[in-house]
Every structure is written in structure tokens, then in C-alpha cells.
Symmetry: C2
Subunit: 283 residues, 2 copies
């Protein structure tokens, strides 16, 4: 999807949040926002929102001299999510429909939206999970079940740190030997990288690859050849999070998107209200 | 108050809303937003938010070739508010404390926040009034009552169209012969001008002057000499709306501000949550 004019104020809000998380220096916040204003003035809105976020977060990392400003936040998010896993596995094991419950919990991971919230506590995650499980889930579950059943190769696109621990639950239900998990190629915001996949133990149960890109989404032209080849050859792609939806929703591929609708623009696109936990396809 | 970095995304959101209200042409919306991005990149944040809005809305009017893009919206807002007045007067006449009820209703006018909502219906206003009357009202009511009692000259600063009809209720309670009502000197957003004061009949009960400025607040240096002289000589100033607060909160004058807290920045400044109906002083 391209970037809407409505995304611009929202992107600037994120620049401000990120700059404050990276530094306590008001001059850094001011300069980061002004740089983003200048860059956005001439930017091509045919780019997707994650493509714009990629440029902006590269610039923030460069200005701050930090390769991975969210490193400690991501570690904490992984740790908090991991603490939930035994409890959630028990729920899945005693469920009548383990696959569907695992899919719902994988979306719950996205709902938590650990984002830039460094103060997140375990009780916040627990509350989010309870909320996620009690909220309606929109999508063709049966079609998803059949797609998983018939696929010989599945490419699973991860989203954020923390959330990636919840992906373990769904991957375990879909026979990990068929699955390749792709993470971002380099740190951007709190998106999951190889380090996060290893931290939550996914490398022990599934083949994990980097997509070669530092975009907070999946911009195929920016990914490496290995990833693109897997993307084109996979029977089924499971894409987590709104960033992956925003970058892949126009692709002709067998993709199921699992995410929570987080803004008005995507809400209009999927024709569901903000907050909806959605399982959707585009082709 | 100066403009916070947090105001920037909010100002851009307003630019987008205003450009869409002024024109149906997507190219106009795009150019308006890009022009604002460019201008904000170098802007002095020591200016108040209304001072920034003044420049931006001047530019929107100039680009659109419309002197008063909100003209018909303001007329409708005045008309809708006027329809409520007989009902509200009845409530005040049967009240044990008419002054205080009139003050609450004057703030209710600000709560309605007719803003750019061209689709506003009478039922929306009725709902807002009912809500306003049932919500707690924060401020030193007794001090306000005493200030009104002892003042020989009162300068009343209006805020928006529509809302100005509700100001009639309070002005009637404070002996109109002592009061001068000041409106904006030229159209800006849906702020009340002389035409609106006349439309709601305020010129029949009180002396109405223009402040000489097209800022959506009261920037003294931008107002005319006549207004400034009245401002400096008034025993008491009653200032309606957040825009007047944002531009006058650092002034050493006997000002009572009546408004609804509408954003996080002002919320922190007055130490009250967003949505609070407030009666506050700064000196």
C-alpha cells in the first residue's frame, strides 16, 4: 500500500516517540523532528509507510550513533513474552482446536504491541492476552486451516520482538519441518532480528533466515536474493503484523496476514474497525 | 505558552482536516500538507500554537482563494446553538445559582467544539450540553464570582462561532453594561468574528469590538491599539477557549480562563486530565 497523507502526522508522532526513547537530549528530539519534517516535505507517497519508516529510523540510528537503540527493550520484551509461554502451551494442549488457538495467540502477540513501551510489565501482557482471547477474530479460519494442511513449504514472516515468542506456539502447530521463519536483516525499531529468534529458542525448532532488509515490513526489492527466492517458491506465506501487511498487501502470492488493525487507513483497507484481530488474504 | 514538539503532528493533522474541508482536490490537500511540513521545519517553537496556526490558515486561505472558507459552517453552528438558547435560558432562570450555571453553559459551548465538524446536528449539541452539565467543573467558582462582583469593566474574549451564542448566557448574568466583548478581527478557522456576534444578537446586549487580528487566539502584539488599550485597562478579563489560554497564559493580567482541556500539553500545564472543564487563572 502507498502512504496516505493521514500517515504523515502519525509518522512524525513516531519520530518524536523514538527520538525520546533513544536520547534524553531535547536538542536531539528537536533536530530529529525537524529533519523528518524536511525529508517528508519531498517524499514520494507511493512508498509504503514501512519504507518511509525505514529511512527515518536509519537516520535516527545514524544521528544517535546507536546501531540498535531498542536492544535492551527487545531483550526485555522477549523475556516477558517467554514467561507467558508455559501457561499458553497448557491452554493450547488442552484445547479442542490447538491450531486455531495457537493462531489466535500469535495475533495476541501482535496485539500486545510492545512497540516502544519500555515500561511494559508482565501483568500488561497477561491483560492483553485475556483481551485478545475474548475479542472476536475476523477471517476465514477454515481456509487458513486447509492452506496449512496442503502446503509443503511455508514461509513465516515475523514481526516484533516479544511477539516472536508467541509465534513459536503457532509454528509448533504447523509442523516446523515445513516452515522457514524470516526475521528482519538488521535492527529497526523493536522488530525481531536473528538475535531475537535465537533468544526465544526458535532456531531450535525451525529454520530461521534473515530477510536482508532493515525495513519494519517486507519490501521485496530491499530483501536479499535468498529471501526473495524463498518468498517466490513457498506454497504458503504467513505474515505477521501490520508492517508486513502494509508492504505485501499488493503482492500476488498465497499470503495469509495475521495482525491487529491499528490505524484508520488499514481499517478502511480491510473494512474492519480499529482493534480487530484479523486473518486476511489479498489474493 | 510556546509550541511543544508534540504540537507539530497535531498541527499537521489540523492542516489536513482544514484542507479537506476547504477543497475536494487531493492535489490541494497534498500541497497544503507539504507546504506546512516545509514551513514547520524552520519555525520558531517559541511562538504559541495559535501563532503557528495563524500563519498556516492564512496560507490555506491564500492558496484556496477563499477569504472565509468556514463561512457557511459558522453560520450553521450559530444557528444550531441559537436553537438551544431558549431551553438553556429556562434552565438558568429556574436555577438557584444562575451565574454559575451560565458559566458552566458557556464552557459547554466550548465543549461542543464545533470545530471543523460540518455535519454537526442539534442532537449532538444537546448531548454535549447534557454531558457538560453532568461532568465535574474544576476551578475556584467563588473567586470568579467575587471578581465579577467587584469589576467595573470586564473584557470578554470570545472563541468560536456557535459557542458565541452560549456566551450570551453568561454575559447576561454579569450585567452587560460593564462588558466589552472582543471577537477576532478577521476570519480564521471557525473562530467568531463580528458577523457571528451580530448573527447571535450579542451586538444588541453588549459592546462588541474586533481585536484586529486573524490569530485563533489572542496575540497581543498582533491585536490593534484599541483592543490592547481595553485589555490593559479592564478590571477583569474572561477568556474563552484553549486558543485564548495558549496565547495569554503568561500575561500578567486579571484573567479567568474558561475552557475544556483538549490536549496533553495543556493538560500538563493546568495539571488536569484531558476533557476537564476548567475555570483557571494564571496570576
Amino acid at each position: 500500500m502507498h502512504t496516505s497523507l493521514d500517515c504523515i502526522p502519525c509518522i512524525l508522532r513516531q519520530v518524536l516517540d523514538a527520538s525520546r526513547l533513544i536520547s534524553n537530549d531535547p536538542a536531539f528530539h528537536d533536530q530529529s523532528l525537524r529533519d523528518a519534517l524536511g525529508w517528508l516535505q519531498d517524499t514520494d507517497l507511493n512508498l509504503s509507510p514501512p519504507a518511509i519508516a525505514q529511512v527515518i529510523h536509519r537516520s535516527l540510528r545514524q544521528k544517535s550513533g546507536m546501531d540498535d537503540p531498542y536492544h535492551s527493550i527487545k531483550a526485555r520484551q522477549n523475556q516477558l513474552a517467554l514467561e507467558m509461554i508455559p501457561f499458553l502451551k497448557d491452554k493450547i494442549n488442552s484445547s479442542e482446536d490447538p491450531l486455531l488457538l495457537a493462531a489466535r495467540l500469535a495475533i495476541a502477540g501482535n496485539i500486545i504491541d510492545l512497540g516502544a513501551n519500555g515500561d511494559l510489565e508482565l501483568t500488561d501482557i497477561e491483560r492483553s492476552i485475556a483481551q485478545a482471547l475474548s475479542m472476536p477474530f475476523v477471517g476465514d479460519e477454515e481456509k487458513f486451516r486447509q492452506a496449512i494442511k496442503s502446503a509443503q513449504s511455508i514461509l513465516y514472516l515475523a514481526d516484533n520482538a516479544g511477539e516472536i515468542a508467541f509465534d513459536t506456539l503457532l509454528i509448533e502447530q504447523i509442523s516446523p519441518e515445513r516452515v522457514t521463519l524470516a526475521v528482519r536483516g538488521a535492527p529497526v525499531i523493536n522488530d525481531a532480528t536473528m538475535e531475537d529468534a535465537i533468544m526465544v529458542g526458535l532456531d531450535k525448532i525451525v529454520r530461521v533466515i534473515s530477510n536482508g532488509s532493515d525495513a519494519p515490513g517486507t519490501i521485496l526489492d530491499d530483501c536479499d536474493d535468498n529471501f526473495r527466492q524463498l518468498f517466490r517458491s513457498a506454497d504458503l506465506i504467513i505474515a505477521k503484523g501490520q508492517g508486513n501487511y502494509e508492504t505485501l498487501n499488493d503482492e500476488k502470492a498465497n499470503i495469509f496476514f495475521l495482525f491487529k488493525v491499528k490505524c484508520q487507513i488499514v481499517s478502511r483497507l480491510v473494512n474492519q474497525p480499529i482493534g480487530t484481530q484479523i486473518l486476511t488474504q489479498t489474493c
